[in-house]
Amino acid sequence: MQSCVTSLQPIVTHNTAILDDRLAGNWNSDGQDYTVQKFHNSDLFKELKETGKNKDDAGKPLSKKDKEDSILLSKSYIVKYRKDTIEYHLLGSLVKLNGQFFMNFMAIDFGMNDRLATNTIARVQFNNSNTVKLDFIDGSFLYEQVKAGRLKIKNERDDLYDTFLITASTNELQQFLQKYGSDPRFFNKENSVTLTRNN
């Protein structure tokens, strides 16, 4: 892949996230295996339960935000894969906008203090029960459009360090996807991944 758009805010909220039974399972793309599990069924969730890191929260009343987070997680997936002996986890949350599916990905990491965790966005196409195509938004194209003033979406850009981050709200992001979700200029072959279900 070339480069993905990174967004400070997710495209999905607790009340717009949806589950789709076609996502869970074991997948492969170009020789790389991926496991997709509903959050509550995931190995990571089981690990969190076993480590008992919830002790401090036990018995405390849940805030509105806590409840919303719980709902979002209950409607999200864990994408797990292994590369060079390292296991990676992403939180994937699906949303349907204008009849199209989009997935918000957030990396799960516990120790990168000098980096900001952000979200990437992919259009999801279920070709059949055994194939899923993920088209990530082309970051270079979006950057060029914003830089040239041809597209307005809230962002932060630092030219000295070549940093570009979309800071639009979830609502603005959803509007953007409704407008450009079918525009082929925002998606290209290099930013696409086709997953095939392992038998």
């Binding site: 979002l72 799960i108 000295l160 940093t163 981050l165």
Partner: protein, 208 residues
């Protein structure tokens, strides 16, 4: 009980945050850069009893680091700071620029990555944006120096009490991200640079 587990999970899903001030933009422009050759060398570091080493070299001396194009053009004025633990293992590596802002000198740190990056899967790493962290640099007459790191809780309190206006965004997890421009950051530093509370209390002392 099930919900409690889930909440603990979400908190852990988000990268751990320390109390250092992390900013999206650097605190300096190219005209603020100061280069002090005497800062280069191998230093013993001490942060509240945690001892280690720091190797500071001129940024241009190391070709293995991936540099943004405009940073590459000014690399002669920059440093590469590598922190090592007592066993000599590198624990962090930063592209650093020293800048005079108001009365004081400051270091702007930015995570450094090798060109042949082996620190993680490329796709996974796309989900993280590198942030700047900043330190006031106080150089003593002996040549030793200490770093005082800007503290985020001080800025956040000022924002919440509506005592300053500085650009920021609230993330979905309610964490505040400082998106202030370099100019805004410099105004903040000039105004609060002498406030002890604006810095973390744990200074790092560098001695030869």
């Amino acid at each position: 009980m099930k919900k409690i587990f889930v909440i603990a999970g979400l908190a852990l899903l988000i990268s751990c945050l320390s109390s250092c001030l992390r900013t999206l933009h650097p605190i300096f422009t190219t005209k603020d850069i100061v280069y002090e050759p005497k800062l280069t060398g191998t230093w013993k570091t001490d942060n509240q009893g945690t001892k280690g080493l720091a190797v500071i070299t001129n940024l241009a001396a190391d070709n293995s680091i991936e540099l943004p194009e405009k940073i590459s053009a000014i690399k002669q004025k920059g440093y590469l700071v590598a922190y090592k633990d007592e066993d000599g293992n590198t624990t962090g590596q930063y592209i650093a620029f020293l800048a005079r802002i108001g009365k004081h000198l400051y270091f702007d740190y930015y995570p450094a990555e090798k060109k042949d990056n082996e620190s993680g899967d490329e796709f996974f790493m796309w989900h993280f944006v590198k942030m700047h962290t900043s330190f006031r640099v106080d150089i003593s007459t002996t040549g030793n120096f200490e770093l005082s790191q800007l503290d985020d809780s001080y800025v956040i309190r000022l924002i919440e009490e509506k005592k300053i206006r500085i650009s920021h965004e609230k993330r979905a997890d309610d964490d505040m991200v400082i998106t202030a421009s370099t100019d805004e950051l410099q105004q903040y530093i000039i105004k609060y640079g002498d406030e002890p509370g604006a810095y973390r209390s744990d200074k790092t002392v560098f001695t030869k």
